[in-house]
């Protein structure tokens, strides 16, 4: 998995490429928690290049959502592939996360 960080005027975009699972979720956890702890409370996670996510990866996204919501910030996801969207649906994530189809669309909400 690769993680890319891009700062825009509206938010920080975190791009995930590859598989997010037990072998690497700690990298995403470290990145997101660092941002949130440094009061970066507007984060967009671009999942368009993420092709697999296990429960361990979902756990980090839920932890980040809870933490940033407590800070009255915004944590948004975009670009879910079909198989990832299905996992999000099964996990009850589609009703708790704000999810957009593309980064361009997601950036408008910040």
């Amino acid at each position: 998995m690769e993680i890319n960080e891009q700062k825009t005027d509206q938010c920080v975009i975190i791009g995930i490429t590859g598989r997010l699972d037990t072998t690497n979720y700690s990298l995403l956890e470290k990145k997101l928690m660092e941002l949130i702890d440094n009061h970066q409370d507007k984060i967009l996670v671009d999942c368009s290049k993420m092709d697999y996510v296990s429960s361990s990866g979902l756990r980090i996204l839920l932890m980040a959502l809870k933490k940033i919501t407590m800070q009255k910030g915004k944590f948004v996801l975009c670009g879910l592939q079909e198989n990832i969207h299905e996992i999000f649906e099964i996990s009850g994530f589609t009703s708790i996360f704000e999810i957009h189809s593309s980064p361009e669309e997601a950036l408008r909400v910040f």
Binding site: V53, S55, R59, L62, K66, I87, I90, S91, G92
Partner: protein
């Protein structure tokens, strides 16, 4: 591959010969049970508890591709078994540590989901089995029998809502995985593992060591 055992003669020598030749099938066994599912059936109709069972089974199984490892379900409890040879062939998540982390995460997601009306909390027991055989006594079924499967079921008696009970055998497999990967032994949910407990379980002639991890 499953060995179907079916001999009409109770004294069959052929049956004894066949049984003696069946190899062991080492692997990881886990039992997962949904909490308070019996109470729930007295409190609501099928549309309520059926929905929650559907959601919970899906959440536990599909996020981690565990559905292919279900051996059987009895009521609201499931038995899963992953033979070593199957686990090792996976391209990733192919360690006992990965199994433990994903099970922990699945329980965490249910416990911490903001909408508590969707899922039901669960309890789990995991054991690394060596005394186990891939056999069935029922035509067309795939099953695993052996004293380590029975021990996994016994370990469930020590689990409660949002708890994973792991046998010392499984715990040591996880520790070995972490050492082999060059990671600290307290990585991930292993930072929450309890001290070692030892108990005698019904029908098991030797004491059994185990630990627990309570989901945060």
């Amino acid at each position: 591959m499953v060995n179907y055992i079916h001999f009409t003669d109770p004294n069959s020598e052929e049956m004894v010969r066949v049984l003696e030749q069946i190899p062991r099938c080492p692997g990881t066994c886990f039992f997962m049970d949904i909490n308070r599912s019996t109470d729930m059936k007295y409190q609501g109709g099928l549309k309520d508890w059926g929905r929650k069972l559907n959601n919970t089974f899906n959440n536990l199984l599909y996020s981690n591709n565990f559905q292919q490892h279900i051996v059987k379900g009895i009521g609201d409890e499931m038995m899963l078994f992953i033979p070593d040879e199957v686990l090792q062939k996976k391209s990733s998540n192919n360690t006992c540590f990965a199994l433990l982390e994903d099970i922990y995460a699945a329980l965490f997601l249910i416990k911490n989901h903001p909408d508590q009306s969707l899922f039901l909390n669960c309890k789990v027991a995991i054991h690394y089995c060596t005394e186990v055989h891939n056999i069935t006594f029922f035509d067309g079924a795939d099953d695993y029998y052996g004293r380590d499967i029975d021990l996994t079921a016994r370990l469930m008696s020590k689990s409660i809502e949002n708890r994973i009970v792991l046998s010392e055998m499984f715990y040591m497999k996880v520790i070995n995985d972490l050492i082999n990967m060059g990671l600290p032994v307290e990585t991930g949910c292993m930072s929450r593992v309890s001290e070692r407990y030892v108990e005698n379980f019904r029908g098991v002639p030797v004491s059994t060591a185990f630990r627990v991890i309570d989901v945060q």
